[in-house]
Every structure is written in structure tokens, then in C-alpha cells.
Amino acid sequence: MAIAVVLVLLVVGSVVFHFASPWWFTEIASNWANIDFTVNLTFWVTGFVFIAVNLFLAYSVYQYRQRKGEASKAVYEPENARLETGLTVITTLGVAALLAPGLFVWAQFVTVPEEASEFEAFASQWQWSFRYPGADGQLGTADIQHITETNPWGINPDDPNGQDDVVVKKPYMALPLNEPAKVLLRSRDVLHNYTVPHFRVKMDMVPGMVSYMWLEPTRTGVFDILCEQYCGLGHHIMRGRVEIMEPGDFQTWLADQPTFAETQAQPAADVAAGQQSYMVCASCHGQNGEGNRALNAPALAGLQPWYIERQLRYYSEGVRGANPEDTTGQSMAPMANMVNSDTARRNVAAYIETLSGNDSAQTTVSGDIDRGARIYSANCAACHGDDGRGSWATDAPALAGMDDWYLALQLEKYRSGIRGQHRDDDYGYQMTSMVKAMRTEEQQNDVIAYINSLR
């Protein structure tokens, strides 16, 4: 008895939940409204079946339940060919009514329009980068074996088609409004997936091959790019954004990005000029880049140049050190403005690379090294390396040899949202999540103690 009533209530409740739910598809931003149509069609058909079958179930249970003190008997009817055939036919028709429009839209999905322009999304653990064809309208060939620190896309340096490719080495891309785009998808390591919920379409990225899909953006805005194929430890922090622009704005944006040839033709950094600039830095960070705890200035020696350049840029652009609670960062921000150009940052970073620091720096944090090793190798090593030396490939700075008080301070900042929460701090954002491997002070001390042991 109760079960019949509950079944009815669950049916009613499910329908009410469906219409009342604030959780539903995002507002569509591509041409794939057809997909939403097939989803809605399927909802109506399956919703009808859901209601009909369960109400009939509830009725049968209610009507034909055994009642106390009443003799009742079931009907003997092994089969009923007409009824069974009828139900088979109706079900087949219903399934065909769902399948036919579905396949029709799928046919559109697999047919890329001739006029679609190409772009490439390139995934790696756990970053995005992008590539657009240059004036020749063609992407150059690319291969894993061409990948180096200065050619992270693996573009074939000998392919003339690749020289004018526009390259983007950050998780931010743009597309022009109302122009069909064919998305070419590549991966540097494991399976990934290019998903923008507002576009509806997604496709895996498979190392060793190029997969594809197509879409046409239909409204301007900035949308999240997610990886939706499990790709290891950093799967959930592999984020990017796509901005849909008016075609004119898009061309302007594209023109601001470097071509592959430009990235390869950079002159060597001027270490002497960098040394000049470093004079200012030395007053806090020390002549040898050894740091000075009293001034809250961390050691710089041992940090990779690309990391120093990025952080200096972040300070200049207000991405880092702009949070009012970030007192130490705020004192760095104006200093960074003294090297406020790509060239100046490259030069000073190149000079810092020559510094030797101070090998006998005191450790100030102690903890259980074994426990720290477990947390570190499970959660940190995938980017920062087993040896704590970091890697350009994962955009992860060196940790080994860095001041432990500074590591503790930065972890605290990530944890409390003082660092890494700026929308443009794509790499810092990743740390705001990974820092949860050290939720307690004790865990953090253990990890830092372990990093100290890696010197």
C-alpha cells in the first residue's frame, strides 16, 4: 500500500524537481541548438514512458495487493501474444523516433563545413596551449619529437607552413563570432578532452593522433574550457578560457600574439643589462640572490628564468601582490615595475640564473620527513618533480633549495586565497587546489621538511 503511494509521489516529485531545478544546461553559445532540441525531445518521450510505466506499476501494486482477511487469487495468464507484439511495435517506434533525429544531428556533427577555419588546441598535463594558422591559412606540421622548452607546441621547425602559425602559450584563446571553426585536437602526453559546456560539443585529445570537431560561436563572452577526460592528478585544475569576439576584435587579438617564427628568433638575453637592473633587487634579495628573511625577501638563485619572468609580469600587471591582505606581495609590486618590459624581465631573469645563492641557508621548519615524502610524492612530484627541481613542461618552479619560510608563507597565501585567486593567475589557481593536500599546519610542515631534505 505505502509503496504504491510512494511510487506516485516519486513520479510527481521527479517531474516537479525537473521543472524546478535551477541546474540545467548553460545558455548555449554555439550553433548546436540542435543538440538541445534532441535532448528535449528525448526528455518528452522518456518522461512520458517514465510516468506511464511507474503509474501503471503503482496502480497494479495498489489494486492487486493481498489484503488482510480477504481471499484473493491471481489470474493465470502465461502470455498474451497480441499485447506483447503491440508493446514491441510501440517501443520500436518510440526508439526509432528518438534515434532518427539523433543520427540526423550527428550527421551534421561529423560533416565539417568547407568554409570552417582551423585552429588547434594542444593539451598537456595539465595545461592548454593553442595555435592558429598564419597568413597562409595552414597550420604547420607538428610532432612530439620537436618539443623543446622554446618550442612547446612541437611545431616542425623545417616546415615553412608552420613559421607564420600564431602561437599561444597560455590557457586563454579567442574565436570570432559567427564563423565556423574546425577544432583540431592534439595531446602531448595522455588522453585529455576539450570541453566548453556552453558549446555543447566536446572531443577527446589523443596522443599520437589529431582528433577534431567543429562549431560556430553564436554569442560573445568568455567561457570556461575544461578537461573532461581523466588525465591524472591535475585533471580538475586543467582549466582554460575561450573568449568569443567580434571578428574585427578577433583579428586585433590575433595580431597581438606572436608567430612561431618570432618565438624562435628571440635574441639572447643581455645578462649585463640584467645585472644592471638587479642592483635594485640586490638590496633585499642579496648580491648572490640568497634572500633575506628579515626583509621577507626570498632566495631567487635556483629559480628558473621563465618563472621569474612570469612572476615579475604578474606583479606588474596586478595579477600577483595586488590583494590588500598580501602585505609582502604589495611591497614587491612597485619593485617589479622597474623591469616592466618583456626584454627587461628576460635580462634580469637571465642574470639571476647565474647567481649561486647561499648553500648554507638555515632551515626553519621541521616536521616528519617520511609523512611529508608520502604527501609530496603523491601530490606535488607530478609537476615539481621527484627531485623538487620543477619543470618548464609543467610550468612548475623549483622548490628544492628555496627558503622554507618562504614556501610556508606562499602555501598559506594559496590556502587563504591571497595568492592564486586572480582570474589571470592560471598557474597560481592550480596551487590553490593542490595546497589542499596539506590542509593542516602539521602536514604542511612535514612536506616542507621533506623539501628541505631534497637540497
Partner: protein, 587 residues
């Protein structure tokens, strides 16, 4: 003297009388003891997987509540939960547990045809479980690759537990498959060769049809998993490149080159999709018998039910790539696999209709097993219908790898089979123990489980529509996920903890009832099938006393007009009820 297989011997006393505790309960060759060993081990390891799911839910619903759930552990919990539940709990409990218990009893044999192999099957299964659990204690912890173990990620350094944990996972799977093969060959041979006099194929209870077809599927599907586990193991240990393309890790070029990650997916799902039906078909069978017995009515459309089981089993080998619509395989495959996948919906829907039509005009006994069976129909309808979304290739595109998928497969192959398991455990408990379970406690257990799981999984579908991806340690900063999603996650977690806690009722019930509840008698439900007609309850080793039963009718003679009671056991002599239904014309 001609050789008579053990299963067919009329008087087996000389062979079947273990005396010591060890031979009776430990190194036992009695299918019933092996069934309970299988079932107990499966439920034990399932409880571990349940615990892992609660830890995952705590991280999603109440982040920061447990300090040691770091990203690495979360992904390891996801992986171990999934693999344990699908393979080590559901497969083992339905086939190793219920298959072992019911096949000889329902077919009227004394035991499996190869009792020693049957015993070996359990010990290999136990070994595979021990190897799997050992991976929690190796350096780096258990595999964190997701239960699908997709290469190259599963064996490269960016994935937690990709070294020792992964290797143990692969070894454990291989051992499990050896165990399954020994058991499976036994089940199939017993059903085909050892049925008692008069038990024609079309008189077999649907439980046996479900278990039989699922076992055949397993014997064809598990080899695909075995070879992929071995090849992946070679890639991991020997550096071969079956599934490993050229790639780069931490700035280093890999030494492996030329392998195909998509090949692994094809092999995995060639096992993985039939696996869904390896779990579902026994559930379909068991629930059919529970429904018919407690509705006091023959299962409606028996022949169609049998053919539907066979059709679903056959089709299940032609749909595997619907798990791979967005994998980067040739998109034209989508047309084929969407069509086969939606075709499979037809026989599946017919089974649902026939369950409901069995209840229609029945004389329904609303006890605990029946409540679980009705709950199953409801959740299975729900999960089946959401399958029509995911199977229809273009609709899968926005929903793939979101919480919609998680909700769908938990509804259809998590909740639904588990509801059937409970229906079956309560239904056959009196036969297994000779005692009746506590009905009130059973019903409370049902309501908590049924309503609780619906509260978990109904809203989860909507997170999927929104676009929330599965296998995310946390959602973090996104513009499209509203803050209310966190509140929803918290509610789902509360429901999950509630459901998990409520399972205690089941254990209290089955253990307390052994002592407290009344003697159940041999056939408390008035059931027709052979296992309820044994001379002893619980049945002794050899099952049937001196003489094997003879079968005279199909398994569903309930409420036969003119009969003196509302059921006629299969072994009761006499005319089959007249009114030439084809079902009974096959004798």
C-alpha cells in the same frame, strides 16, 4: 560400469559426506558453502568500496572535513570504488554467490559438475581480492587511474598509484579472470549437462537463464580484459608499446612509441559493455523469480523473457563503442553504435513491461523481497531511460564525462542490481539458513535504501546537464557553476551517508535472525521452483537425499485454476495445466 557424473548420481552418500570442520566449511566442495564463501567475501570487499564512496562524497559535499583526503587519494578512491563494485562485488556476488547457490538447486543436481574446480574458483577469487587490497599498502598507494584504466595515463607518473598499485590491480584482475573462468565453465556445463529429468531448457526458472547467459557473456568478454591487462602490464613493466604512443612527461621524451590508446579503449569496452549485462542479466533473472513468487502469478511472457535475455546478451557485444563516442575514434562509428545501442532498449523495455504485467492481476504479497523488487523496477526504468540519452550518440556529446553519466550508471547498474541483491538475499535467506528474517527490520532497510539512493542520484543527473565533469577532486573556480551546486552536493553527501548507515540494518537482521527468528520451514513462500522442495532446509550436501527430483512442469505454475493451492511445485507429477500455452508445450 558406465561413468555417472556426481551431479547425476542418485545416491551420493559415499562421496558426499565431509566430516571435519575444515572439509565442511573451509576446503569445501559443496556449492552452497562455496556460494556463501563467495558471497561473504564479495560483501566484505563491497563494504570497503562503500566506505571509499563515502570518503569521496565527503570531499565533494564537505571539502576540508577530512584533512587526509588529498587529490591523489581522491582519485585512488574513485578508482578502487568503481573497480571493486563492478568486478569484485557485483560480478562475484551474482555469479559466484547466487550462481553457485542456485544452479544445482534450481536445476535439480547434487552439485556442480566439477566441484573441485568450483572450490578452486573461490580460492583464486579470494587471492585476487587479497592482491587488490594489498595495493593499498604499497608505495604510492593503489591505482588512481579511474576504473577504466585508460592508457597511457594509467601507467604514467602523472597518475597516483601508477606504479606498484597499478601492477597489483592488473595482476589481481588476471587472477580474478582465472577464477571466473573456472567457475563460469562449471556453471555453463552444469546447466547444459546436469539438469535433472524433465528439466527442459524452457522449464528453467529465469534466474538460471539470467545466470547462464551472463556466464556465457563473461566467458567471451573477460578474455578481452585479460589480454588488455597483460598487454598494459607489459607496457608498464617491460616498456612495450601496445598502448603507448610517443609522448612527453616532465619535459622528457618517452622511450615508447607507436602504440594506440584507442585500442585499449576498444579492448576494455569489449569487456566493459558485456560486463554491464553480466551484472544485469542475473539481476533480471533473480528479480523475475522474486516477483512471480510473491505476486503468486506466473511470470508474464516467459518465452519472451527468455529470448529477451538471449537477445540482450547477444547485442551486448555489438554496442561497446557507445562508451567512446567522443574518444576520437572515427566519428562515423557513431551511426552504427547508436543504432545497435538503441535497439538493445527494445528487449530491455519488454522485460520491464513483463515484470509490471506480472504484477497486474496478481495477488501481491508486499513483503521485503517484493518491496525491493518493486523498487528495482522503478530505479531500472529510470536508469534505462537515461540510457536512451547517452546511447543516442549526439546527446552523449554534451553529457559524456559529466555527472549525468555517473548518475545514469549508478542508477542502472549500481542501485538497481543492489536492490535485486537485497530482494534475492531476503528471498532465499530462509532456504540458506532455515530461519525467517525479521520482516519489520527488512522493510525499514528497504525504505531507507530505496528513498535514500533516489535522493542521491536523481539530482545528480542535473549537475550533469549543467556540465559538471566527473572525476573532479573539486569544482574550483568556474563561471558556469552556480553556488547552489555546492549545496546540492552537500545534500547528496548527506543522503549517501544515510544510505550507507542504513545498511547496518541488513547485517543486524541476518545475524540476529539466525538465533532469534522462527524456523522458516522448507518452503515458506509457497514457491514452485526446485530449491524450495529439498528434503532438508538448509539443504544438506548432495541436496536431494537418496533420489533426484523429477520435473513435470515449468517454473511458474502459480494460481493455476482448479488447483488445490495457489502453487504447484515443478516436481509435482500430473498433467500440466491444460489450455495449450506454448510455454508448456516444450516438454
Amino acid at each position: 560400469m558406465a561413468y555417472v557424473p556426481l551431479a547425476d548420481q542418485d545416491d551420493p552418500h559415499a562421496l558426499h559426506d565431509p566430516h571435519s570442520f575444515i572439509t565442511k566449511y573451509v576446503w569445501s566442495q559443496d556449492h552452497k558453502v562455496i556460494a556463501i564463501q563467495y558471497g561473504g567475501t564479495a560483501i566484505f570487499v563491497g563494504l570497503i568500496a562503500l566506505g571509499l564512496s563515502i570518503l569521496m562524497r565527503l570531499q565533494l559535499g564537505f571539502p576540508d572535513s577530512i584533512s587526509w583526503i588529498d587529490p591523489a587519494f581522491y582519485y585512488q578512491a574513485v578508482t578502487m570504488h568503481g573497480m571493486i563494485m563492478v568486478v569484485y562485488l557485483l560480478t562475484a556476488l551474482f555469479l559466484g554467490g547466487f550462481g553457485n547457490y542456485l544452479i544445482p538447486l534450481m536445476c535439480g543436481t547434487r552439485d556442480m559438475v566439477f566441484p573441485f574446480l568450483n572450490m578452486l574458483s573461490f580460492w583464486f577469487y579470494l587471492l585476487s581480492v587479497i592482491i587488490l587490497l594489498a595495493s593499498f599498502f604499497v608505495t604510492g598507494g593503489p591505482a588512481g587511474a579511474g576504473w577504466t584504466l585508460y592508457a597511457p595515463q594509467s601507467i604514467t607518473a602523472g597518475t597516483p598509484g601508477s606504479g606498484g598499485g597499478m601492477l597489483l590491480m592488473l595482476i589481481s584482475l588476471a587472477v580474478f579472470i582465472v577464477a571466473f573462468t573456472m567457475g563460469g565453465l562449471n556453471y555453463v556445463t552444469t546447466i547444459l549437462q546436469a539438469r535433472t529429468r524433465g528439466m527442459t531448457l524452457m522449464r528453467m526458472p529465469l534466474s538460471i537463464w539470467g545466470i547462464f547467459t551472463a556466464t556465457v557473456l563473461g566467458l567471451f568478454a573477460f578474455p578481452a580484459l585479460l589480454v588488455s591487462a597483460i598487454m598494459l602490464g607489459f607496457d608498464l613493466v617491460l616498456g612495450t608499446s601496445f598502448f603507448m604512443p610517443a609522448m612527453m612527461q616532465l619535459g622528457e621524451q618517452s622511450t615508447q612509441d607507436g602504440g594506440s590508446p584507442i585500442l585499449f579503449q576498444h579492448l576494455f569496452w569489449f569487456f566493459g559493455h558485456p560486463e554491464v549485462y553480466i551484472v544485469a542479466l542475473p539481476a533480471f533473472g533473480l528479480v523475475s523469480d522474486v516477483i512471480a513468487t510473491h505476486a503468486r502469478k506466473n511470470i508474464f511472457g516467459y518465452r519472451m523473457m527468455v529470448w529477451a535475455i538471449i537477445a540482450i546478451g547477444g547485442l551486448s557485444f555489438l554496442v561497446w563503442a557507445h562508451h567512446m563516442y567522443v574518444s576520437g575514434m572515427n566519428p562515423y562509428f557513431g551511426f552504427f553504435f547508436a543504432t545497435t545501442t538503441l535497439i538493445i532498449a527494445v528487449p530491455t523495455a519488454l522485460k520491464v513491461y513483463n515484470w509490471v504485467l506480472t504484477l497486474w492481476q496478481g495477488n501481491i504479497r508486499l513483503n521485503t523481497p517484493m518491496l525491493f523488487a518493486i523498487g528495482f523496477i522503478f530505479t531500472f526504468v529510470h536508469g534505462g531511460l537515461t540510457g536512451l540519452f547517452l546511447g543516442n550518440v549526439i546527446i552523449d556529446v554534451p553529457l559524456a564525462d559529466t555527472y549525468f553519466v555517473v548518475a545514469h550508471f549508478h542508477m542502472v547498474m549500481g542501485v538497481s542490481p543492489v536492490l535485486v541483491l537485497y530482494a534475492a538475499l531476503y528471498h532465499w535467506y530462509p532456504k540458506m539458513t532455515g530461519r525467517m528474517y525479521n520482516e519489520t527490520m527488512g522493510k525499514v532497510h528497504f525504505w531507507c535504501t530505496f528513498l535514500g539512493t533516489y535522493a542521491i542520484y536523481l539530482p545528480m543527473h542535473y549537475l550533469g546537464f549543467l556540465g559538471v565533469p566527473r572525476r573532479y577532486y573539486e569544482m574550483g573556480n568556474t563561471d558556469f557553476v552556480p553556488a547552489t551546486a555546492q549545496a546540492l552536493n552537500a545534500n547528496i553527501t548527506i543522503a549517501a551517508i544515510f544510505v550507507a548507515t542504513a545498511q547496518v540494518l541488513f547485517f543486524i537482521n541476518i545475524f540476529m535472525s539466525l538465533r532469534k527468528e522462527k524456523d522458516a520451514g522448507g518452503n515458506p513462500w509457497g514457491a514452485t521452483t526446485l530449491e524450495w522442495q529439498t528434503p532438508d532446509t538448509p539443504p544438506k550436501h548432495g541436496n536431494w537425499g537418496p533420489e533426484l527430483p523429477t520435473v513435470y512442469r515449468w517454473a511458474y505454475d502459480y494460481s493455476v485454476p482448479g488447483a488445490k493451492q495457489d502453487f504447484i511445485p515443478q516436481n509435482e507429477p500430473g498433467e500440466e495445466y491444460e489450455k495449450t500455452f506454448h510455454t508448456r508445450g516444450h516438454s
